[in-house]
């Protein structure tokens, strides 16, 4: 009998419609207005790669050990090094990172023994073509400069 009355008075439908209707209140708005409103990504976010430099003397932290290149599943890191004849140390000459093939798994970051290579919170790396997707050492040290739109 109760079920019959519920059916007659469309209670089942009204209950569902009420759920939809009470979310009309502005306090339940959850949509982020993305390009106008910048999202705050987590501290551990794995985004654009960066090659850290020592802030004191401006030299690279990278010791050219090649561990990141070995750890990378896609083999997209190429480390160029040269031996300094005076100090008998390996020094970094070139560093290329193909961001078009990167899947941001974080294995290179984990492998780095001196925290030189780091995946940062920058996430706007899309482009209209493939030019410039292979980042060289300068680009990696400076980081990406995404275009900021004004509203």
């Amino acid at each position: 009998m109760r079920k019959f009355l519920r059916t007659i008075f469309l209670i089942d439908l009204i209950e569902g419609l009420w759920v939809t209707f009470h979310y009309q209140r502005p306090k339940y708005m959850v949509t982020e207005q993305y390009p106008a409103q910048r999202p705050k990504v987590a501290e551990r976010y794995r985004g654009a790669p960066r090659l850290n430099i020592n802030p004191d003397n401006g030299e690279t932290l990278c010791i050219a050990c090649n561990l990141c290149a070995l750890a990378c599943p896609e083999n997209l890191i190429v480390v160029g090094a040269e031996r300094n004849e005076q100090t008998r140390r390996k020094e970094l000459t070139t560093f290329t990172y193909d961001t078009s093939r990167c899947m941001f798994c974080g294995l290179c970051e984990d492998a780095c023994p001196v925290d030189a290579l780091e995946l940062t919170q920058d996430f706007e790396m899309a482009g209209y073509n493939r030019d410039g997707q292979i980042w060289d050492r300068q680009m990696l040290e400076e980081g990406p400069r995404p275009k900021q739109y004004k509203y």
Binding site: L13, G16, Y23, R44, Y45, A71, L107, D110
Partner: protein, 370 residues
């Protein structure tokens, strides 16, 4: 001139997909129709084939771990857990208790997220657009936890062989509890929205019935098997990663129709929240990584490990020849096996029901094609 031309035939062959919004990706179903009635359905798969198993043969064990996230991308954490457990079995190693507890928390959160996506898309297929927006909102809470924990939202790469790479962040417990408190009342809200709705009930009851015997014959696992009344859950049957410590129930259905599968999955989300609450209370102190060599070279042999992924039994079979790369790696994906039952389920149904049946299978084409 053949005796019978296609004009005489009453059978109409209709391609559904691969570019159809409700085939959940690039599935192509060749339907044989008699008017509105479906006489049979053939699946054409492989549009998303990337050769993941072959890639595995050319990567070291650690390097392959990010690729498994890309199979079932709705449940990347579960995929990672299965793979890590399989390699750990080869190495005869076990993750420390702290790592196991964190793994359980994250996989169960991922199960809720995966079921939420299923609910939203399934409802959308049938015509209820509203739940999709709401499930995305709840899923966001869960994905934020993943992002804070491991730095990625979808393809997480959260676990490593032998334990965890990342220590839990400050406030993980509070975040997880808040997410549980947020999700649980919302599940009741979805039930208010759908379970009583006469259109929803009418579209789902007695559609795509698959009884227990057929389920076993096809090898169908997961919520589909449980909806047919079989109490089979690998978390209870072969506990892994410390699931035997947690108290939860296996929801089962009775008829094995689409409505039962809906109810089973809704109940499963509640049970997952129950497990998460227990697990997050008792994350023990201790190391998060077992003693695993830097270069993993497992002894010659083979190992098969299966876990209860959100969609069913997810198995990894790895053959090792003693080198740093697997000799052969085979994945038993639940979606692929469950999809085989589509032909039987759609026979005799109407065309509109095919959409409901594909939705209830809960397939992810990334996993079907691999």
């Amino acid at each position: 001139m053949p005796d019978q031309t296609f004009l005489d035939s009453t059978e109409l062959v209709l391609n559904m997909g691969p570019q159809h919004p409700s085939t959940h990706g690039v599935l192509r179903v060749v339907l044989k129709l008699d008017g509105e009635k479906v006489l049979g359905a053939d699946c054409v798969i492989g549009y998303l084939h990337r050769g993941v198993e072959k890639i595995g043969e050319n990567r070291t064990y650690q390097q392959f771990a990010p690729y498994v996230d890309r199979m079932d991308y709705c449940a990347a954490v579960s995929n990672g857990l299965g793979y890590c457990l399989a390699v750990e079995k080869l190495l005869n190693a076990e993750a420390p208790p702290r790592a196991q507890a964190v793994r359980v928390v994250l996989t169960e959160l991922n199960r809720v997220a995966s079921h939420l996506i299923w609910l939203g898309t399934h409802a959308l297929d049938i015509g209820a657009i509203t739940p999709l927006f709401y499930v995305m909102r709840e899923r966001e809470e869960i994905l934020n936890i993943f992002e804070k924990y491991c730095g990625a939202r979808l393809t997480t790469h959260a676990f490593r062989i032998g334990g965890l790479q990342y220590e839990t962040y400050d406030g993980l417990e509070a975040d997880v509890k808040a997410a549980c408190d947020h999700v649980l009342p919302k599940i009741d809200e979805y039930e208010r929205l759908l379970t009583g709705n006469r259109i929803w009930v009418g579209r789902l009851t007695n559609v795509g019935v698959l009884n227990a015997a057929d389920c076993k014959q096809y090898g169908v696992t997961g919520p589909m098997l449980r909806a047919a009344g079989v109490k089979w859950d690998l978390r209870k049957a072969q506990p892994y990663s410390g699931y035997q410590q947690y108290d939860f129930e296996i929801p089962t259905g009775t008829h094995g129709d689409t409505f039962d599968r809906y109810l089973v999955r809704m109940e499963e989300m509640r049970q997952s929240v129950r497990i998460i609450r227990q697990a997050v209370e008792r994350i023990p102190e201790g190391p998060i990584m077992a003693k695993i060599p830097k270069v993993i070279k497992p002894p010659v042999g083979e190992a098969y490990v299966s876990i209860e992924a959100p969609k069913g039994e997810l198995g990894y079979f790895i053959v090792s020849d003693g080198s740093a790369q697997p000799y052969r790696l085979r994945v038993r994906p639940p979606s692929f096996v469950n999809l085989q039952a589509l032909d039987q389920m759609t026979r005799g149904a109407l065309v509109a029901d095919v959409v409901a049946i594909i939705g209830t299978l809960d397939i992810v084409l990334g996993e079907v094609d691999r």
